[in-house]
Symmetry: C2
Subunit: 286 residues, 2 copies
Amino acid sequence: MKTVTSPTIVRTGEDIRQVVHDAQRVGRRVGVVPTMGALHQGHLSLVDAAREHCDLVVVTVFVNPTQFAPHEDYQRYPRELDSDAAKLAQHGCDYVFAPSVEEMYPDGFETSIDVGSVALPYEGERRPTHFAGVATVVLKLLSLVPADAAFFGQKDYQQTLVVGQMIRDLNVPTDLVVCPTVRESDGLAMSSRNAYLDEDQRQRATALSASMQLAGRMVDRGERDVATLRRAMESHLAEVGGVDVDYIAFVRAGTVEAVETIAGETMVLIAARVGQTRLIDNMQIG
Amino acid sequence: MKTVTSPTIVRTGEDIRQVVHDAQRVGRRVGVVPTMGALHQGHLSLVDAAREHCDLVVVTVFVNPTQFAPHEDYQRYPRELDSDAAKLAQHGCDYVFAPSVEEMYPDGFETSIDVGSVALPYEGERRPTHFAGVATVVLKLLSLVPADAAFFGQKDYQQTLVVGQMIRDLNVPTDLVVCPTVRESDGLAMSSRNAYLDEDQRQRATALSASMQLAGRMVDRGERDVATLRRAMESHLAEVGGVDVDYIAFVRAGTVEAVETIAGETMVLIAARVGQTRLIDNMQIG
């Protein structure tokens, strides 16, 4: 029988920084997985990756108010630290850093980080304050948990670019590791927001990944024209129905530069509402 | 005879970070003095303070382009690393970190830090991009030189507030130490830009500190009305002549909140042009 130890839950920045420094002082490599909790297999795969590459694994659980717009689901966002900790125990997480909002944003807090052009289109256009909130909280978390490596999921493609830009530009001494999106067996990308979907919506939501897979197969068969790929995806999504597409974008991999023709590594990005739930996903094609 | 050792000049972030980490690993406390070079007694007093409080002293010398507006004196700003290093050798500086612009701002750099309201009035209003440039470069320098303490001069009062806000809000693990303004015997605050003044301007420039001292004496004698103090300063400055006042401000110490009445620790701030040279200074009154 495998022995499972619950992670130690730490509430203050001072305490978690000490944990990290103590580990690093004796040569241990520290990995951090920043999350908003409500952990699913996607998060846990990041913990597994951190476990594999590092000697000490810290998972941060913080529902960050500054990356939600006023009309978004900050209040409603699932908070389930006990069950999160139980899941993390199964994956060898050593510490959970779960600060309060007051710990992260004391009275008088005013600073914001703008990473420039990578934060502007797509999610940045629809959620104008989102990436400043993300960049700022991730920088704070990496100051408090000065890990050697930070693990993020590919599912939030543009977020990984924003974090990468911030880490590079601000000389943050932490390696960014981006791990593959984890999907349900029917292709739906794991997301804490999937919990908002009813059964019918849950079915229709598979159309996001299915439409990208369709585009991927067309590219494999030689299609290079983005307009054609987009039409095929839109037709598929319309056929399924109940999916209100926000955007479908084709960008050069590792960037947010739109392409018209597939001529190298390309990402397809999709955002859509299923009922009231906004979902995003992406896939490499070509 | 005192042995004087020249500081080691380091050009890359990777190298200076290693120096700091190696020192900290064996329990040495590291102090950093961020400068733009052209060192005068004001800077050297910061080095002395760092030397007193720390085991290893790093001075950064970097004329930061992003804190100058296009019409300002970036090109003209004095650069004299050899004589700076010679001065630093006399004050026990161990390392000079003097990165190139390309080292600090490689192609693709886009990130900027906004610290909010403390950066808005006074210097922030006259130099709208200045404090974002300052906050960003100081954060980068503190990432590359993760010192235990950073030493800044009181002369750049609003800058010390901006840096303090940034350090607090972003959980930078470096203590901010603000050291007193160093003045010439006639009261002129030391500044690298004093070198731009001709003999006549140099004389007139003493009116900045003299007018603040006048206000301070009035407060000592019981004057509490800011409008009265301001008028007295303006009269003094007009009498001297050749001093084009940009602003005179009275703020609650440690803030940029303007006050109408002296009722506690108060700073007077002044900015003025003498010829083409823009000078700033400040003093505690009350």
